[in-house]
């Protein structure tokens, strides 16, 4: 496996999935719409009290981001698995984990990234201050790639299974908890006037761990589905 091959595989996977998403851009927008509608449900259910909304705003945005990621994960492999192109990638010349990494990158660019762009708007609706929104954005910027990375492993494990969607949620959401705790914790800690470095250090460590481990675990999981 040469270094050039690794990067070529990554770039190929990334470009391919981005092009596919660009051709069905409605799917990207639907996930974004899902994020916004679920966020909107919370003020309607807990009441419009600004203090309550300010208190729970960051948590709700984070939870909705994890759900939006969960909902869009089937895009990563399911269609390629169904039409056999995933199998071709597995047996092709390019290293498979790097293609997988490219696909994960494309997934983040088409779900996590658009969510980040909407977050300031939603933050204002929940009465978060400018500084809080900044911290929230930074925590999402580090955390949402991890959502896509861990999500890739579980999406591959549940490829083609009956009841895959609910099963995927059961497998995946427990693993998202640390991100939720530290992502929301950073905003709360900032709002309380305390340091946020610890939270970001842990989020960063998780990102590094996931970056190194997830493409290989995902590739192994795809192999179990195709063998």
């Amino acid at each position: 496996m040469t270094q050039a091959g690794v990067w070529a595989g990554f770039a190929w996977g990334l470009r391919r999935d981005l092009r596919l998403s660009a051709r069905s851009s409605a799917e990207v927008l639907v996930v974004l719409g899902f994020f916004l509608i679920v966020v909107t449900l919370f003020p309607l259910s807990v009441g419009p009290d600004p203090r309550v909304l300010h208190r729970i705003g960051a948590g709700i945005i984070w939870v909705c981001a994890t759900l939006a990621c969960l909902l869009s994960l089937h895009r990563m492999f399911a269609l390629d698995f169904a039409d056999g192109s995933l199998e071709q990638m597995l047996f092709g010349a390019m290293p498979f984990p790097s293609i997988v990494a490219g696909k994960i990158g494309a997934h983040w660019l088409t779900t996590g990234c658009p969510l980040l762009l909407c977050t300031p708007l939603v933050g204002v609706q929940f009465g978060l201050s400018g500084g809080e929104i900044g911290v929230l954005l930074l925590s999402l910027a580090i955390g949402t790639p991890v959502l896509s990375l861990i999500g890739g492993i579980m999406a591959a494990l549940t490829l083609g299974l009956r009841g895959g969607g609910a099963l995927l949620a059961l497998l995946l959401l427990p693993l998202y908890i640390p991100l939720l705790v530290f992502g929301v914790g950073a905003v709360d800690s900032y709002a309380a006037g305390m340091g946020i470095e610890g939270h970001f250090s842990v989020l960063g460590a998780e990102l590094l761990l996931a970056l190194v481990g997830a493409p290989f675990a995902t590739a192994a999981a795809v192999r179990t589905a195709i063998d």
Binding site: I153, L157, L167, L170, P174, L175, P178, F182, T224
Partner: protein, 246 residues
């Protein structure tokens, strides 16, 4: 190593597991009775919590086992991936229901204990929450395996899930601990001297031993059932069953 490989074959392990399981159950019953006697009758009443504390003789061993078993499952998952021994995967699946059971018992007894001591059945405390998440991990593991029909794929997927899970368990544990802590600190640790009376500790350790023996016995029985299911129609199994019938 050759003896190890010999027992990694379901054909050799099946009769062995059948012979061993009753002994482990017997050991579990005997030590369980001794542990309960020490815990419920011999041990003194706690001066703060009264008689309610006696639930630790079930609660703490169950909580320990719930965590050990998950690590053990991941260990078998790694064995399965490195040596490609089917039996390791079978052991891994055989352990899961027992692990989930102990997790559930730890949560349930914790709730019953929390009512008299904290005044509430459930609080979103770090240890309770991480134990609840552990239960979800067990349920997810069993659900994934149940959802896959091809046993080879089910084994591989479950092993991978157990390994990914065990990497995440400490992260989840510490993140939840950071998030909120109300639970009393661990009463028993390897580094500090025990904060509890010797007799209480003895009772708890004996109960933990009993839980271990039960776990081994139950997973041996369950692995036999899994072998029967997977190897149905195999020549050795037909011969074995015929011998048993005679």
């Amino acid at each position: 190593m050759s003896w190890l490989y010999r027992f990694a074959s379901p054909a050799t392990f099946y009769p062995l597991a059948g012979k061993l399981a009753p002994w482990f159950f017997a050991a579990s019953a005997v030590t369980g009775l001794i542990g309960l006697y020490i815990g419920l009758i011999e041990a003194p009443t706690d001066f703060q919590q009264g008689e309610a504390y006696r639930i630790i003789y079930i609660h703490v061993p169950a909580a320990w086992m719930s965590m050990f078993i998950y690590v053990l499952m991941a260990f078998y998952g790694i064995l399965f991936f490195t040596f490609n021994t089917r039996l390791s995967a079978m052991m891994m699946s055989a352990l899961a229901p027992t692990g989930a059971m102990f997790t559930f018992v730890a949560l349930w007894t914790g709730a019953l204990w929390g009512r008299p001591t904290w005044g509430t059945y459930w609080v979103w405390d770090a240890r309770l929450t991480s134990e609840l998440i552990l239960l979800f991990l067990y349920l997810g593991f069993m659900a994934l395996q149940a959802a896959i029909e091809d046993p080879r794929r089910a084994d591989k997927a479950a092993a991978l899930l157990a390994i990914v899970g065990v990497v995440n368990v400490p992260i989840i544990y510490f993140s939840v601990q950071w998030w909120n802590t109300l639970h009393q600190g661990a009463s028993v640790s390897l580094t500090a001297s025990p904060k509890m009376a010797m007799i209480m500790l003895t009772g708890m350790l004996i109960m933990a031993f009993s839980a271990w023996m039960y776990t081994i016995g139950a997973s041996l029985l369950r692995v036999r059932a899994i072998i029967l299911e997977r190897e149905a129609g195999a020549e050795w199994l037909k011969r074995h069953v015929a011998e048993q019938a005679r």
